[in-house]
């Protein structure tokens, strides 16, 4: 196997089956009940708790932790799911050190927060294995279209279904889940959890999922507006930013999101080719996920190169530590100048940069990194926004709970302007838009009923 590791170029099967299994096992295994009890005991049950304020979905964290501590994890799960129906995935992928755990008063006290994310997973895991806990309200006779079965769309659909509306989700890909299914490192959500969670969520009933229905191809917004009482757009960001660098079209230069998606969908990791010298350009979670997984697939040298200072990286400290402890090198203040090679990439040329006071970058000395594979991870953008909808910074402009410039059309998640591009933010936006859609539809119904 040593030979396979050292093979130059982008090749599959660098590792033994056992190594693949070890490398892609659950990165943060679930707490056992004893661990959960010990962790829960540390919560101070703060007044107007800062962790709740820091949570985009405002989960009542002290309450659910107290419910765990008192031996009622299912009650804890309900507390979580009432606010965040994808609380199971959020427990796995939330950058908690920037959110709830970062706000935990134990950070101030000891620098060691209550393990809120792990406790949330402990509570929610138990209920995902059970029948769906929520029931639908009385049928309203209203139909709502949801575009995209990612976190925003699923969250909106669930809340709408719970209110008694009939929901149809139009999903461009073969599976539901969005980034939960296609865009997250596989060691964060093992054993098919993303699909289990979707199945569990949909089992509330009243939600029809139609796959391989892409907005602008199989479906159009005007048609949805005509057929449904309301439309929620949650299709995420389908486009990927280009490097705009010489040689970007050479072989083995590709988008990190594609690599991550293929890895998540791979039946056998040994069939996935990976370079011996991998370079990832970018500074966010996607860059880290691509870099770490390259390393875990057996790449010998993996380097993340980010054009600005480390403090401006989108990836959280925890993610950065995970990368470096996995053997990934993080190089900051360097931007790509050219991709060299003869057909395939062989080297990437960079220039060191300095962050200037006005926000611009000043480039200095050049250097080259050996690379037989190069991943772009410099952000995604909205592709194919519907005609006539107002945009803001390239995303769908929204006011309040996701209202777009078009009457009867709401938007949320990454495709909507504002908010962080996080799973938990998408869940919150989907939920809040659903509540607003419900309020509008029911007001309209009441107005019609009392009309002349």
């Amino acid at each position: 196997m040593t030979q396979a590791k050292l093979t130059p170029g982008v090749v599959p099967g660098r590792l033994s089956p056992a190594d693949y299994a070890d490398n892609f096992a659950d990165v943060a295994p679930a707490l056992i009940p004893h661990e959960a009890r010990v962790a829960a005991d540390r919560c101070y049950f703060c007044h107007d708790a800062p962790c709740v304020t820091a949570c985009p979905t405002s989960i009542d964290i002290p309450l659910f932790i107290r419910q765990i501590a008192t031996g009622t994890p299912d009650a804890a799960a309900l507390t979580i799911f009432h606010q965040n129906i994808l609380g199971g995935m959020c427990a796995r992928v939330c950058p908690t050190e920037n959110l709830c755990e970062g706000a935990c008063v134990r950070m101030e006290a000891e620098g060691m927060p209550v393990e809120i994310g792990a406790l949330q997973r402990f509570a929610t895991d138990g209920m995902i294995d059970q029948s769906h806990p929520f029931t639908r309200g009385a049928p309203t006779g209203k139909r709502v279209a949801v575009v995209g079965a990612g976190p925003a769309g699923l969250s909106a659909a669930h809340r709408l279904a719970a209110k008694g509306h009939d929901v149809v989700i139009f999903e461009a890909r073969a599976k539901a889940g969005g980034l939960n299914e296609y865009g997250i490192a596989s060691y964060k959500t093992v054993d098919g959890f993303a699909q289990d969670e979707v199945d569990w969520l949909l089992s509330i009933g009243g939600i029809e999922l139609r796959n391989e229905q892409r907005l602008g191809d199989q479906i159009t917004l005007p048609a949805l507006q005509a057929d449904f009482d309301a439309v929620f757009l949650g299709m995420g960001l389908g486009g990927v930013n280009a490097l705009r660098t010489d040689g970007e079209n050479r072989e083995h230069v590709r988008d990190a999101v594609d690599f991550i998606r293929e890895l998540r969908q791979a039946e056998d990791l040994a069939t996935l080719p990976v370079g011996r010298d991998v370079v990832v350009i970018g500074g966010g979670m996607t860059a880290v996920d691509a870099a770490v997984q390259s390393k875990l697939l057996g790449a010998e040298n993996v380097t993340i190169v980010y054009r600005r200072g480390q403090e401006r990286m989108g990836a959280s400290d925890h993610e950065q530590h995970h990368a470096t402890s996995s053997g990934v090198r993080i190089l900051c203040n360097a931007m790509p100048i050219a991709v060299h090679g003869n057909g395939a990439v062989r080297e990437v040329e960079f220039a060191y940069t300095e962050d200037m006071p006005d926000g611009s970058l000043n480039t200095t000395e050049h250097f080259r990194l050996k690379a037989d594979q190069l991943f772009r991870a410099i952000g995604q953008r909205l592709d194919g926004a519907p005609d006539g909808i107002a945009l803001d910074g390239g995303k769908i402009a929204v006011t309040g709970p996701g209202r777009t410039s078009l009457a009867g059309v709401w938007a949320g998640g990454d495709c909507a302007a504002g908010g962080d591009d996080l799973t938990v933010t998408a869940v919150a936006e989907g939920r809040d838009a659903a509540e607003d859609i419900h309020a509008v539809l029911m007001t309209r119904t009441a107005a019609e009923a009392s009309g002349p």
Binding site: D48, V105, A109
Partner: protein, 432 residues
């Protein structure tokens, strides 16, 4: 370095830490390990009269109350006196005492409430060379149903009578162990003193049901679906024990009667508190049952460090706080304090705010940025905020200087004045 050697009613031990009569002191093996670990003395688990020994249940004997992180706060037990033959216990006591002549070895006794039984047992134990006897008038479970233990301890006349017999038929120092399952602990202490007791020890365990199994609907520990009340001990009972020790220490009738303090002693600090309230030594059980015999080493070093840092001898400590235990009506009503929150130490949990706002006097303001500030105009100095604050010394109580105006009442702090002279006290008026 402070000398911890103890002389309690003539019984000498290298330190004032004894193991109480309880499961840990039931047999030679345990007692030898205790002495090896450094315990100053042991009260051997209670012996009964000769004959077939008592039997214990064969299901669980203990129920527990936990604090955070499954820390044991209290244990209740339904174990009876020793269930081993009298002659075995006596042989072992003699052997252990021979090997550890410098340690205190006291025998706990519980026999039927008649003169013959007591005369007989005292004769039987004479040969062991033990240092003293402790009369178990305290056990609240099992034995009390048979007219012994707390059944005796709840009747002062019986205490006095049995104590007299013991002093009549034995030359050994006699310690009378008191039950807390009584309204006024001074009465049995007075009875023991009248009977000639050399000392009292307290408290024995408290009648208790620690928990109820919510599937079986039975108290714990549960024996085949049923439970009986047990005796509660451990850190949770310490406040009750401290008060009872203090009551005896400051009562005119019992003042000066030596006291062996028992009840939740877990650390050197607990021991020091008992001694400050008048205990000449302390007895420990639950801490050893929870953590093993080694805990005595922390008790020894801790008490020694405390005495050294305060330049005190052990004898200076004993009873030192007794003069400051008083009745409520003697408390200075013109002593005014106000809570002060150290903003640098505050971790912004808001528990002080929740406690004060919901359950007290609305005297803490929550300001933007989760800044919590005391509103002195409302603060009655109850100190609940301090009690619920998770950070030690983050909230403190500041004493108003004499003459300083209390913003709540608008009155300057006055000189000492208590309820007995307060204008609102009808009795005070009546006395005029």
């Amino acid at each position: 370095m402070a000398d911890l050697r103890s002389n309690f009613v003539g019984i000498k031990s290298p330190n004032p830490f004894w193991l109480a009569s309880a499961p840990p002191t039931d047999k030679e093996y345990n007692v030898r390990r205790a002495f090896q670990a450094g315990w100053g003395g042991v009260v051997w688990k209670t012996l009964g009269a000769e004959g077939p020994p008592v039997v214990n249940v064969n299901g669980p004997r203990y129920g527990v109350v936990y604090g955070a992180d499954r820390r044991v706060l209290g244990i209740n037990n339904i174990e009876l006196i020793t269930d081993r033959p009298l002659e075995v216990n006596l042989r072992e006591i003699k052997q252990v005492k021979r090997d550890y002549p410098d340690r205190a070895l006291v025998i706990s006794l519980m026999v039927p409430c008649d003169e013959d039984s007591w005369r007989t047992i005292l004769k039987q134990i004479e040969d062991t060379e033990a240092d003293g006897v402790e009369l178990n008038f305290g056990c609240p479970h099992g034995m009390s149903e048979r007219g012994m233990g707390s059944a005796v301890g709840q009747v002062p006349e019986y205490i006095e009578m049995v104590t007299r017999w013991v002093k009549q038929y034995s030359r050994m120092p006699c310690i009378v162990k008191l039950t807390p399952n009584i309204t006024d602990v001074r009465k049995p202490a007075e009875a023991a003193k009248r009977g000639g007791a050399d000392a009292v020890s307290l408290i024995n365990t408290i009648n208790s049901i620690t928990s109820v199994d919510l599937d079986l609907f039975a108290p714990e520990p549960t024996i085949d679906g049923k439970g009986a009340h047990g005796g509660y001990c451990g850190p949770a009972v310490k406040p009750i024990a401290l008060n009872m020790v203090a009551e005896i220490a400051r009562s005119a009738e019992t003042r000066g009667l030596p006291i062996s303090g028992i009840g939740g002693v877990t650390t050197w600090r607990d021991a020091a508190e008992f001694m400050a309230l008048g205990a000449g030594n302390v007895q420990v059980c639950t801490a050893a049952m929870t953590y093993g015999f080694k805990v005595v080493q922390e008790m020894i070093s801790g008490l020694r460090d405390y005495l050294d840092s305060h330049e005190m001898e052990l004898s200076d400590l004993i009873g030192r706080a007794v003069p400051n235990v008083t009745d409520w009506n003697q408390l200075n009503l013109n002593y005014v304090t106000k809570a002060v929150i150290d903003q640098d130490a505050c971790i912004k949990c808001g528990r002080c705010y929740a406690a004060c706002e919901d359950t007290s006097h609305q005297a803490i303001a929550m300001k933007p940025g989760r800044v919590f500030e005391v509103i002195e105009e409302e603060c009655v100095a109850c100190n609940l905020c301090l009690d619920v604050c998770p950070v030690e010394n983050c909230i403190t109580m500041r004493e108003l200087a004499p003459g300083e105006t209390d913003k709540r009442t608008g009155q300057p702090r006055g000189d000492y004045a208590n309820w007995t002279t307060h204008p609102n006290n009808p009795m005070a008026r009546a006395a005029e």
